[in-house]
């Protein structure tokens, strides 16, 4: 393999190499430094005159004397069953002191798009044990549901609680977890690792760690390595895989950094114009394939800069993912855990995974009613601030109280509290029973007669 020493320009993470033999687009590159160390990169632009290489690590130490070798293939990830329980760097190298991974297969990390015709519709309910998710923003297998959070909010704990408690109803089968950290601090990473170890989840987890002080450009490949592994576990080995990607904001920052180094025309707020397509190539690697046993469910976590949901990162994410769980600073300040604000939260696949066959017949109606009542109560809070509680009608006062009740009993729960879906729905009914029956306009009469606590008791009495 020919080694070139024709570097003409180095700018940020990019190295420009002149006059090479034809080099393939996306090809893997090794750069040999004078001290014998090797850095890796990938071809971003290739012509007979000039090849642009994006280096995954810092370009410190690269100079005109650096030898460049083109490896003739795109980036491949060695995967195998043994990966479970292992901790790898953001570039895919073992960092837990264990042996190298013996690959059963080497897979292209870009990953091809699943043919929409080959997908199976996700509809299997996942119980996370968290009421605000199970009850009102239901997760189903094969879904991608991000957590939109802000700096300093407990999104990591929510993700951990989900990873620990998630299971399909009536199945003991646990999820394999693929965890990819991008640019998070060592402390945060430790928090995850300790929890994985404490609960024994590490045995069925593959961890990729790109920490805050690791090269930013490496973050571009970390989620792709993780998802390639997940696809292998799901579609080759038939496991149900939960992928946690944190923090996607750091990933997007890295993307912007490369775009700037290439002097590309920037899109909104300096992020590259192709960010939607790029993010889609990550998020869309979730789902179920007809005739295959496994599934990939994604939980990307991102911190919204300035808690701004219209910022390009949450915005573009929301257009690709199937809903979002929004973590609220207000609720967090009130001391409520998990501080999930259900109003802007949404699960687009919820209707596929609930109802008689999946959870219970009253699920949708209860959820709609809770939403509507909470939204109304929440609106009234603004009014109370102006006119005072006394100016409200009796009806309005009930809705106002309902909003508090909802936050304190439905939203609030313990970090280790694992509620069943039936417990969650019954809790919903208990709260709704604080409102007059005729105000429950979203629920059919027969469901009210069957599940409303008041009528249930009468029923019991009549039978007794």
């Amino acid at each position: 393999m020919k080694e070139y020493r024709t570097i003409s320009k180095i700018a940020g993470p990019l190295v420009f190499v002149e006059k090479t033999e034809p080099v393939g687009y996306g090809e893997l590159v090794n750069l040999a430094l004078f001290d014998g160390s090797i850095k890796r990169g990938q071809v971003l632009d290739t012509s007979d005159q000039l090849v642009v290489v994006q280096v995954f690590e810092t370009t410190a130490g690269i100079g005109k004397d650096t030898g460049v070798r083109f490896l003739g293939e795109t980036i491949k990830m060695p995967v195998g069953r043994e990966m479970l329980g292992r901790i790898l760097s953001g570039g895919g190298k073992p960092i837990d002191g264990g042996p190298e991974i013996v690959p059963e297969k080497r897979l292209d990390i870009t990953g091809a798009a699943i043919n929409p015709y080959a997908r199976a519709s996700p509809e299997e309910f996942i119980q996370t044990g968290i009421s605000t998710i199970d009850g009102t923003n239901t997760l189903v297998r094969g879904q991608k549901l991000p957590i939109f959070s802000g700096a300093g909010l407990p999104h990591n704990n929510i993700a951990l609680q989900i990873a620990r408690q998630a299971k399909a109803l009536g199945s003991k089968e646990e999820f394999a977890v693929v965890f990819a950290a991008m640019g998070i601090t060592k402390e945060e990473a430790n928090h995850f690792m300790q929890d994985f170890e404490r609960t024994g989840a590490l045995e069925r987890a593959v961890v990729f760690l790109n920490l805050a002080d690791d090269p930013a450009v490496e973050r571009i490949i970390t989620p792709r390595l993780a998802l390639t592994t997940a696809e292998y576990l799901a579609f080759d080995l038939g496991m149900h895989v939960l992928v946690i990607l944190t923090d996607m904001t750091n990933y997007c920052e890295a993307l912007r950094q490369i775009g700037a180094a290439r002097e590309e025309v920037p899109g909104r707020r300096g992020y590259p114009g192709y960010m939607y397509t790029d993010l889609a190539s990550i998020y869309e690697r979730a789902g179920i394939i007809k005739g295959k046993k496994g599934s990939i469910t994604q939980f990307p976590i991102l911190t919204m800069p300035g808690d701004d949901i219209t910022h390009p990162i949450p915005d573009l994410t929301g257009y690709i993912t199937e809903g979002q769980i929004v973590v609220s600073r207000d609720l967090h300040r009130k001391g409520i855990y998990p501080p999930v604000n259900v109003l802007p939260s949404l699960s687009r696949l919820m209707n596929l995974g609930i109802g008689k066959e999946h959870t219970r017949e009253d699920h949708k109606k209860v959820s709609d009613q809770l939403y509507a009542a909470y939204a109304e109560g929440n609106d009234l809070r603004g009014l109370v601030a102006i006119v005072g509680k006394d100016a409200l009608s009796e009806r309005d006062r009930m809705f106002l109280e309902f909003a508090d009740l909802f936050e304190n009993r439905f939203v609030r729960q313990g970090y280790n509290e694992d509620r069943t879906i039936f417990g969650t729905l019954d809790l919903g009914w208990d709260l709704l029973s604080a409102l007059p029956v005729e105000q429950l306009v979203r629920i059919d009469r027969d469901l009210i007669n069957k599940y409303h606590p008041k009528f249930r008791q009468q029923d019991a009495k009549a039978q007794g």
Binding site: A112, N115, P116, E264, T277
Partner: protein, 587 residues
């Protein structure tokens, strides 16, 4: 230099540079928008720029691993779709490759370098000739038909073929490649024709849209109707129910043919469409909806250049069915992803960007696309139409961004989705204050004749009440509802009824998902009669609390979920009358 030297020796076109989906080739004698085969794997691409000896090509497939020096072959043809029997029930990617064929050829994931014709060339169709030997046919004339599904597929003389006298024509069972008709000039016609996607198919004339496209959605048909052959935009922030609304339109609109383009959208959502449509029944024929549908699915992670092409592929297929004399409705979800595909390719071309990085020709492309909609007199003299409903996904829900703004300048109907409404589970979350339809005047006569002479009055009344409510709500926000004058408290209650009974509609309820015009009329009329009673009662001295406390109106929402609703509606109306009489006599 080496490559250009090699190319000069006459070895054909050669790749010079590869940067993602945009590649540069030298030494191919190509025209703009010619289709070319790139590299050893013969990836499909299209010429988008010519500069000296260099030709810039957008490639419809992933270009990883392709090297400078690989060959490029020019086919000399524009990007075209195959049109003929077999289109209906098909599911295509952006460049008309059937996804089912791709699965059988390359498995569950989309690999590159596989070509697949848009139509099945082996399948035999029963062709029935409708012209005889010696008849004269013109471009666009109907020469025969095929019963494709429950839809009759009319076979046309391609618009780009000169007509003439029919020399021979035969009925029978043929593939789409076999010649079924020859003309005097020697031209042989088959059941298939090819048409370049970027060129609108010709028509005799464009006519004014005067018939509404009935969708069964109350807020659309009732308040903001779209005409057959019209254009509409649904802009909405994510999570506001844009896709559900689009799918409801695809399911229930009374077009004969539906073309649904999933352009840069979610894979799982397309799967939902793919699994749901074959099971759904067409309310008119009782046959699966799929039988009148063509789906184009180019999800967000499929190649970006094919996404750019998908919209043209879709509208060309729609025009083809229009030329048979059908009413076609086309949904594009989402045109923002299409615009983003243009932006991505433009930025790779290093073109000077316009607003927010979009190319300067964004507005021109959007208007060209929407202008392909319309109600027309076809070349064969029939009436046909293409209605285009485009979803727009404004970043951050900000309607001032270029795609939304350029779209609004062209389309005649605007259905403003509102995240606030969807958060409180008001569906369809279409904001009644911001939405508009410019077809109200042209459709006025139709509603007069087909629904009721009262309808236009009722509609205007409902809009007025809703507008009034919005003003009153501002006051309520400040002082509370008890401080309003009594008549206005009644107005608030009436507006609430219009919103909750008429505007809210449950897409997942088997009955409420589709509501025909006569039911819409009955519902609105009942609310109006409640309002008339209520205002009269209020003047007579009945308190607003008593009016709001009327029991019978609480049963009114149930009407939505009852198929044979008339007896129940009668009962409620009678109960309402007697309650009001009682209230007034007690004053």
């Amino acid at each position: 230099m080496e490559i250009e030297a090699k190319a000069a020796k006459g070895s054909g076109g050669v790749l010079k540079r590869i940067a993602g989906p945009v590649v540069t080739a030298v030494n191919i004698d190509a025209h703009m928008y010619d289709v070319v085969k790139v590299g050893h794997e013969e990836l499909m691409g299209e010429v988008i720029k010519i500069q000296g000896n260099e030709t810039i090509i957008q490639v419809y497939e992933d270009t990883s691993g392709i090297r400078p020096g690989e060959p490029v072959i020019n086919t000399g043809l524009s990007l075209a779709v195959e049109l003929g029997p077999g289109l209906l029930t098909s599911i295509y990617d952006g460049i008309q490759r059937p996804l089912s064929v791709l699965v059988s050829k390359m498995g569950d994931f989309i690999q590159r370098g596989v070509s697949a014709p848009g139509l099945d060339h082996q399948k035999k169709w029963e062709f029935k000739a409708l012209v005889r030997e010696g008849d004269t046919v013109l471009p666009g004339s109907i020469i025969g038909e095929v019963q494709e599904t429950n839809i009759v597929h009319r076979i046309l003389v391609p618009p780009n073929v000169a007509g003439g006298k029919v020399k021979s024509i035969r009925s029978g069972s043929f593939t789409i490649e076999e010649v079924i008709c020859t003309l005097d000039s020697g031209t042989g016609l088959t059941m298939m024709q090819k048409w370049p996607v970027r060129v609108p198919r010709p028509v005799t004339e464009k006519m004014n849209p005067t018939i509404p496209l009935i969708t069964g959605q109350r807020i659309l048909d009732g308040l903001f109707p779209i005409a057959k052959g019209g254009t509409a935009a649904i802009p909405g922030p994510f999570g506001s129910g844009k896709t559900v609304t689009q799918q409801q339109l695809a399911k229930w609109s009374d077009a004969e043919i539906v073309v649904y383009i999933g352009c840069g959208e979610r894979g799982n959502e397309m799967t939902e469409v793919l699994t749901e449509f074959p099971e759904l029944e067409d309310p008119k024929t009782g046959k699966p909806l799929m039988e009148r549908t063509v789906l184009i699915a180019n999800t967000s992670n499929m190649p970006v250049a094919a996404r750019e092409a998908s919209v043209y592929t879709g509208i060309t297929i729609a025009e083809y069915f229009r030329d048979m004399g059908y009413d076609v409705s086309l949904m594009a979800d989402s045109t923002s992803r299409w615009a983003e595909a243009m932006r991505e390719i433009s930025s790779r071309l290093e073109e000077m960007p316009g607003e927010e990085g979009y190319p300067a020709y964004l507005a021109a492309r959007l208007s060209e696309f929407y202008e392909r909609a319309g109600r027309v007199k076809t070349l064969s003299g029939r009436d046909g139409s293409v209605s285009v409903i485009g979803a727009v996904s404004p970043p951050g829900g900000d309607f001032s961004e270029p795609v939304t703004q350029n779209t609004l300048r062209i389309v005649k109907v605007f259905w403003a989705l509102d995240a606030k409404l969807s958060q409180r589970r008001h569906f369809p979350a279409i904001n009644w204050l911001n939405s508009y339809s410019l077809y109200l005047d042209t459709l006025h006569d139709w509603y007069d004749k087909e629904v009721s002479p009262e309808w236009n009055v009722l509609r205007a009344w409902a809009m007025e009440v809703l507008q009034k409510e919005a003003e009153l709500q501002e006051i309520v926000q400040l002082v509370g509802s008890d401080a309003l004058p009594e008549a206005e408290q009644v107005t608030i209650e009436v507006a609430r009824m219009i919103r909750e009974i008429f505007l809210q509609q449950n897409a997942y309820d088997p009955v409420d998902t589709f509501c025909d015009m006569s039911k819409q009329y009955d519902m609105m009329k009942t609310i109006r009669s409640f309002a008339d009673h209520a205002y009269a009662a209020q003047v007579a001295g009945v308190t607003p609390q008593q009016i709001i406390g009327i029991q019978s109106k609480n049963d009114l929402p149930q009407i939505k979920f009852i198929k044979d609703y008339r007896p129940e509606l009668e009962r409620i109306k009678n109960a309402m009358d007697s309650e009001f009489t009682r209230l007034r006599s007690s004053v």
